[in-house]
Amino acid sequence: MKINWFKYSAPMSFYPLAGKLIPLFWIAAIALILGGLYWGFFKTADILNDQKQYYRIIYVHVASAWMAMWLYAMMVFWAMIGLILNTRLSYVLASATAITGTVMTIIALATGAIWGKTSWGTYWDWDPKLTSFLILLFVYIGYIALQSAIDDVRRSDKASALLALVGLVLVPVIYQAVNCPDPTECASLHQESSLKRIDPNILIGMLVTTLGFWMYSFATTLMRARIIVLERERSTTWVSKLPEIESRINNTETGGES
């Protein structure tokens, strides 16, 4: 069987496909997030070791933190594909992913701060995990800033893709750097992320919510990608023949919309 791997890498065929997929991802996202949170809030223990009900923020915190890192990896993946194969759509997807990733990083930092206040007694602490997430946010913002500073689309795509790659190399280095050379010297408040020690009941809620966040990221990324595609391809004939665009053109021509 011969598969045409590049069929949907053309904006023209990507646009309708994304349009069909977005509602599905939205439905899945809402169902999974509501389901995961319901399970997390009503089907799990009220008290976890020494933590009271506050620990339930874990469902949002862990899900958004995972997505923040995973979306960065996705962004770098598309940036790399773009640099190697020079496909326009890859850059579109990379830049569409960046904003959702930034939002996830902010959610992870904010929920982490609230949780930190209840369990550590402080909103912020300069511990390796927190600091590296802050740096991740800066790298995301740098990517978006560079992209919006360059007017030429081709240059802005390639330059920001290169920056994303450099950031990928540096994020683990920074994570190690804020760990002190001698770990016994400075205590870290954030516990090790480990799935093994988590109660299976809580884990189910967490995984379902994460899957929901994942679907949400797909939906928003595709929506943003569609908008970018329309913006970039606005002078092509296939865009002007789209039903939603055509009806709008007709409306303005007949003066239906003022």
Binding site: A145, L146, A149, R154, A159, L162, L163, I174, A177, V178
Partner: protein, 223 residues
């Protein structure tokens, strides 16, 4: 190949020495920033010793970020940069020569002036020597990583602020270990070797990879 390296290095140094005021601007910026902190934070001996390592590094970070603007922009404006990119030899080598010249003009003077900081902040002689050593090892990383951002933002409006935004988060490892080494040198009986080794590793890595990435970035910017 090395002939190109020497030619570009010599040319950049010569051009800068003919307009030596620019070197001194960066140097005085460094000194001004360093001398502002005691006035703002307090002049007690304990406080000064505590903040000195961080202050000296942050001042060095800011000074080198401000100087990055000059790395490519003058050559970009008069078209020399395009000639360098179009030349048949490896662009990474030419870029490496440019970055090295930039470091000799902005990084090395900071290393040489840093004993003055020791004087301002009442540091022991031993720590001043450590400070000079870590600045010597660490400032090349600043020039190397900075060159990537300088190449990416070539010729953009408001490029200076953008460069700082892109590059300062990337400087973090150098700040942590560079300041860490100076602080540790003031504690008796603790070895500073881990800091020195790691800083050297960063330095080597950035020297190997940055010219290559910067060359790619220049090609994108000049396309």
């Amino acid at each position: 190949m090395f002939r190109v390296f020497w030619v570009i290095l010599k040319r950049d140094l010569l051009l800068a020495l003919r307009r030596s005021s620019e070197i001194f601007t960066v140097l005085f910026f460094f000194i001004v920033v360093v001398s502002l902190f005691p006035l703002g934070v307090g002049t007690e001996d304990v406080v000064l010793k505590k903040i000195a390592p961080g202050v000296v590094w942050i001042a060095a970070l800011l000074a080198s970020t401000l100087a990055l603007d000059r790395l490519f922009s003058a050559d970009y404006e008069d078209g020399t940069l395009e000639k360098i990119v179009l030349a048949p030899n490896s662009l990474s080598i030419s870029v490496f020569a440019k970055i090295l010249a930039h470091w000799l003009l902005t990084g090395l003077p900071l290393v040489l002036i840093s004993p003055l900081v020791g004087l301002f902040y009442h540091l022991p002689v031993n720590s001043v020597l450590v400070m000079m050593l870590v600045l010597f090892i660490g400032t090349p990383v600043l020039s190397m990583l900075g060159s990537i951002a300088a190449a990416l933002t070539l010729g953009l409006r408001g490029g200076g602020v953008l460069v700082s935004l892109l590059v300062l988060p990337l400087y973090l490892p150098v700040l942590v270990y560079g300041a860490g080494a100076i602080s540790t040198s003031m504690e008796p009986g603790v070895s500073i070797d881990p800091y020195i080794f790691l800083l050297t590793a960063f330095s080597m890595l950035s020297i190997v990879f940055s010219p290559w990435v910067t060359a790619a970035a220049l090609k994108i910017s000049l396309e």
